[in-house]
């Protein structure tokens, strides 16, 4: 009974932290105030201050976790909404996102291996370019540290938004397709939201690229990893 009550409190607490952080993000609207970052920091602070172990918090967190799988399934909806973009640009989209997936996995894994990091960390780094729920599922399959996967996804998202103007210039990405595929393949939802502010067209390409690259990365990761390590 007490576990149940703690669980309910954890769920309500998480929702309050989330709603609060969405408000903060609306007000300041910079990448670093992304709701997931503020909520995570807030909850960690509460847990540390009141000396609540992570396992205790997860009595409720576990329930929210159960919705992660259905959340990935829900990504079919934005993809379906962009089906005309998808149909029109199918080949460049598939080839571009596949290239991105190959480059992302192999460059991350090779650099991390060269630097001498443990495998559980490398497996968490592998799917960093895809949206968090998929990245966590991929890391779980590979046997890496799952929360760490979420942190790397954040680095790829926020880092990508910070350097995207530089990359666009460096690689001469001046076509809406190149920009959309680049951002969606590298920086998932955070990058897509940023592009959406400038151009609906780039944003919709980015949405498709983000979902496609999630599919491609989850399919090729295990095989590519066994080749690289």
């Amino acid at each position: 009974m007490i576990d149940f009550l703690i669980g309910i409190a954890a769920i309500i607490g998480t929702c309050i932290a989330y709603v609060f952080s969405v408000r903060v993000h609306r007000k300041w609207n910079v990448t670093i105030t992304a709701p997931v970052i503020i909520s995570t920091v807030l909850i960690i602070c509460v847990l540390l201050i009141f000396r609540i172990p992570y396992e205790t918090y997860m009595l409720g967190g576990e329930w929210i976790n159960h919705l992660l799988g259905p959340a990935v399934v829900a990504l079919a909806y934005p993809l379906y909404n962009q089906r005309n973009t998808l149909k029109k640009l199918l080949v460049p989209l598939i080839v571009g996102t596949t290239m991105g997936a190959l480059v992302g996995i192999s460059s991350g894994v090779l650099m991390a291996r060269w630097a001498g990091f443990e495998e559980t960390i490398i497996y968490a780094l592998t799917p960093k370019s895809v949206t968090t729920p998929v990245a966590m599922a991929v890391t779980e399959t590979l046997g890496g540290i799952i929360p760490l996967a979420a942190v790397f996804v954040m680095f790829a998202g926020i880092g990508g938004v910070m350097i995207h103007n530089l990359v666009f210039r460096l690689f001469r990405l001046d076509h809406y397709l190149g920009r959309g595929v680049g951002m969606g393949s590298a920086s998932h939802a955070i990058g897509t939201a940023t592009l959406m502010e400038d151009s609906q067209l780039e944003g919709s390409v980015s949405t498709v690229a983000m979902v496609m690259s999630a599919v491609v990365v989850s399919i090729i990761s295990p095989a590519l990893i066994s080749l690289l390590l």
Partner: protein
């Protein structure tokens, strides 16, 4: 209230697709996560009009708009791994950044080149 009911009903449909995805994954011993299989299935079913978009859209939109809420409990788990980024671990941030830069540049340049080449062929 009606909207909340729709969100719950639509989410149940999504959970159904997730369970089918999991079933396919375990039956065929696939590496691809069950959730991704469920997503592909849902996309195919929507495209073939086997299921109507109105059966899932409120739930799907609510979830996609609030995606971050669902992975907060996992990201909080980082508090047990805070030492990973200490010392040499800081290098991981640099690796993630360089790799992100390469992904963005190369994937974008590839698709841009392909679409321009196609446009030239049509001229």
């Amino acid at each position: 209230m009606l909207n909340l009911g729709k969100i719950i009903l639509h989410t149940i449909v999504l959970i159904g697709f997730y369970q089918v995805g999991l079933l396919i994954q375990t039956t065929f011993q696939l590496f691809v996560p069950g959730s991704v299989i469920g997503m592909i299935l849902l996309f195919i079913f929507l495209s073939l009009k086997v299921i109507k978009v109105t059966w899932i859209e409120n739930g799907a939109r609510f979830i996609v708009d609030n995606l971050a809420l669902f992975f907060i409990p996992v990201t909080v788990g980082i508090l047990e791994y805070y030492d990973v980024f200490a010392g040499k671990g800081a290098l991981l941030i640099l690796i993630a950044l360089v790799s992100t830069m390469l992904v963005m540049g190369i994937s974008g340049a590839t698709s841009q080149w392909l679409v321009r080449r196609r446009a030239e062929e049509h001229d």
